[in-house]
């Protein structure tokens, strides 16, 4: 009995791994999905870039439910993928459990921190990038009122909001910032209708530049802004192309680089905490043909100066997550 069981188990494992080249990397997208045009899509972009350049193969899967996370990570680890990269802070807790069970597999979590020897945790200084686009928003605004649509109301998104608000006030101390969040659950990442309605409400309150840090929900924000003829600011990926000439800029977060680097390092991945900040090119703002006409020379100049000051440490943008407070209200 015992023998047959073991045998069955063994063949099954073989079957699982057969056809998969040993140690292909794998990527798990958080809720919101691969094509959220934002955070997850940036990760996909990095993976694709790696695949195109190296001709390698990788597996990916999209989360559809909170409860599946642990199973997904485990499934990839069990099947021998290495490294297993995942996006989103929600992966942290399940990863803690699974990573301990698979000490020979390397894991990478983006936006979350897991303190285990076989995990690389990648975080970004979103407040710095947000500060820059905040400055740009304040300079582009004619009404003196700009707004922010956050996804889930969590410290990470407040970090965006807080950086943005600081940037706005830095450029125009008289400016008014309206802040809204889409929800308190991961559904908030994928609710473009609600995003659009919130944007409408902000427009009625006078906002003429809106920054969306809300994953897939942001698509609705940018859409409504474009329909109403106001400017919007994209997030994570470069979203300038979504509505050419109507997206002021995008606060890019180089999730793609994080994934690309992890994939490239492969099994020899160095673990530990990696902070991708403005100085390291981890965050920034997007300039391309689509928004070239919107960004004036004045703006360009001010932003260049601010970037340099932040990179040098001369300007310190307050990080909401350091003490859960913000010098400018982001409620």
């Amino acid at each position: 009995m015992k023998l047959t069981r073991t045998f069955l188990g063994a063949t099954a494992t073989l079957a699982l791994t057969a056809g998969v080249a040993w140690a292909d990397p794998a990527l798990i997208y958080d809720l919101g999905g691969k094509f959220d045009r934002s955070f997850n899509e940036a990760a996909f972009g990095g993976a694709q870039r790696w695949a195109d350049e190296t001709g390698g193969e990788y597996r990916d899967i999209e989360m559809q439910s909170e409860a599946q996370r642990e199973q997904a990570i485990r499934r990839f680890a069990e099947a021998g993928y290495n490294p297993v990269v995942m996006t989103g802070f929600s992966m942290a807790t399940p990863l803690e459990t699974v990573a301990a069970d698979y000490p020979d597999t390397n894991f990478v979590i983006i936006d979350g921190v897991v303190d285990l020897p076989n995990v690389r945790s990648v975080v970004f200084t979103e407040h710095e990038g947000s500060y820059l686009v905040g400055m740009m928003a304040a300079m582009a605004s004619e009404t003196g009122t700009v707004s922010f649509v956050g996804g889930m109301d969590i410290p990470l998104i407040r970090r965006f909001a807080c950086g943005y608000a600081q940037g706005v006030v830095a450029a125009n101390p008289e400016a008014n910032v309206i802040v809204n969040y889409t929800g308190t659950t991961p559904a908030a990442w994928n609710d473009p209708v609600r995003g659009g309605e919130i944007t409408s409400s902000q427009i009625s309150q006078g906002s003429d530049v809106v920054f969306a840090a809300a994953g897939g929900t942001g698509v609705g924000v940018l859409q409504t802004a474009a329909d109403a003829g106001i400017l919007s600011i994209g997030v994570d990926s470069n979203q300038n192309h979504l509505h050419p000439g109507q997206v002021l800029t995008s606060m890019v977060k180089r999730v793609d680089n994080a994934v690309y680097e992890a994939f490239t390092a492969g099994e020899d991945l160095e673990t530990g905490l990696v902070v991708m900040d403005l100085a390291a090119g981890g965050v920034g703002y997007a300039l391309d043909d689509n928004n070239a006409e919107l960004v004036t020379a004045d703006m360009q100049e001010a932003l260049d100066a601010a970037s340099a000051a932040i990179a040098s440490g001369e300007t310190v943008v307050h990080d909401y997550m350091s003490d859960n407070t913000c010098p400018v209200s982001v409620e």
């Binding site: 069981r5 188990g9 699982l16 069990e78 929600s90």
Partner: protein, 365 residues
């Protein structure tokens, strides 16, 4: 009506079986239509869910969920109450599990498990009690009220997890992880006692046996006790039950409380047995799959075991499909929908021709 035209066994076995085959055939067509190979899909599903003890560990974990929610729907069906609220009752049951596990320092897993079962059952029953009461006393249609209560439960959980139970530093709307002492023994641990090797990854745990025990107890309840007799009588004919002195209010309340309690205990498996913390949507639609399971199992506490296993297989196999192919995981929802449609609503489409066949056989014989 039907039993006079066709033997009972045919109604109980053949009708669901043919319905299931039709549902699968259409599912295969869907897979074909999106450009995938249904045979290959089946192979992947079988391999991923039944081909290793790792797969079995997940298959049986999901099976446990569906046994409990299927039983919940079945008991209510026996009283002719359509409890669509299993999802909400299980969600709230999860709250009970979390409260018991987070705030009471249990010395070991089994005391915690018993307490969690009791708490989740109580919470689930409570959530079923309001629609049940409104049905019994005010005639509010229980299907609509339980649907509404699913949404209300989702809002309650949303609030509890975002504002009350979330640890101050965490971003996820989820509770902290329970103490390791509370980890339920998994099949790896249990089967290891008798020398069977089993993957330690699969979350199937002792709740599987608890669920099977509940099936047996439910069978005894329905066919060996006065209460079961009364529930079945009420389900068959409300006026007759009234004639016999069976209180409709009592039966509706009791049947729904049992149903809600069973749905609630499902959370012990999916919270304590799975991620060991309460996350949003810990139920993952199991409350609804319970409907399909109960329909296929003809609302019989033993009859639901096979369909629960089938859906456990579909769920795990479907997850594997999503990884191995471009068929999204939602394919299981399609299959689930077709099973519910053909076994629950289009059963006459299968029954009528079958009856004709039996009639012809009888005439000839």
């Amino acid at each position: 009506m039907s039993s006079t035209r066709m033997p009972k066994w045919a109604d109980v076995l053949l009708v669901p079986l043919f319905s299931l085959l039709i549902a699968f055939a259409i599912s295969a067509l869907v897979i074909l239509a999106i450009g995938e190979d249904p045979v290959e899909a089946l192979v992947i599903m079988v391999r991923g869910s039944l081909g290793s003890t790792y797969g079995w560990g997940y298959t049986l974990y999901y099976t446990t969920n569906f046994l409990l929610t299927g039983l919940a729907v079945a008991i209510a069906f026996q009283a002719r109450l359509f409890n669509i609220g299993g999802e909400g009752q299980a969600l709230i049951g999860g709250l009970g599990v979390a409260l018991v596990c987070l705030f009471i320092p249990w010395p070991n897993w089994w005391t915690a498990m018993i307490a969690a079962i009791l708490a989740s059952a109580a919470f689930g029953a409570l959530w079923a009690a309001i629609p049940a009461f409104l049905q019994a006393k005010r005639g509010s249609h229980i299907v609509i009220t339980t649907i509404m209560f699913n949404f209300i439960a989702a809002s309650v959980m949303n609030y509890m997890l975002s504002h009350v139970l979330r640890p101050p530093t965490a971003m996820d709307p989820a509770t902290a992880r329970f103490d390791d002492v509370l980890r339920l023994p998994r099949l790896h641990d249990i089967l290891g006692l008798v020398g069977i090797e089993f993957s330690r990854s699969g979350p199937a745990n002792i709740m599987l046996f608890v669920a099977l025990l509940f099936c047996g107890l439910a069978y005894m309840l329905m066919w060996r006790t006065r209460l079961g007799f009364e529930i079945r009588a009420f389900g068959q004919s409300e006026p007759a039950a009234h004639y016999a002195g069976i209180s409709g209010v009592k039966i509706i309340m009791v049947a729904m409380l049992i149903s809600g309690a069973l749905a609630g205990t499902m959370a012990v498996n999916s919270v304590m047995g799975g991620p060991q913390r309460l996350v949003l949507n810990a139920v993952e639609g199991a409350g609804f799959i319970g409907i399909a399971v109960a329909l296929m199992g003809r609302s019989h506490p033993i009859g639901i075991i096979a369909p629960a296993l089938l859906f456990g297989f579909l769920y795990q196999g479907g997850g594997e499909l999503a990884i191995e192919t471009t068929i999204p995981r939602e394919m299981i929802i399609v299959i689930q929908a077709l099973v519910i449609m053909f076994t629950g609503a289009l059963d006459n489409m299968v029954r009528q021709p079958l009856e004709a066949v039996f009639l012809r056989l009888r005439r000839r014989g």
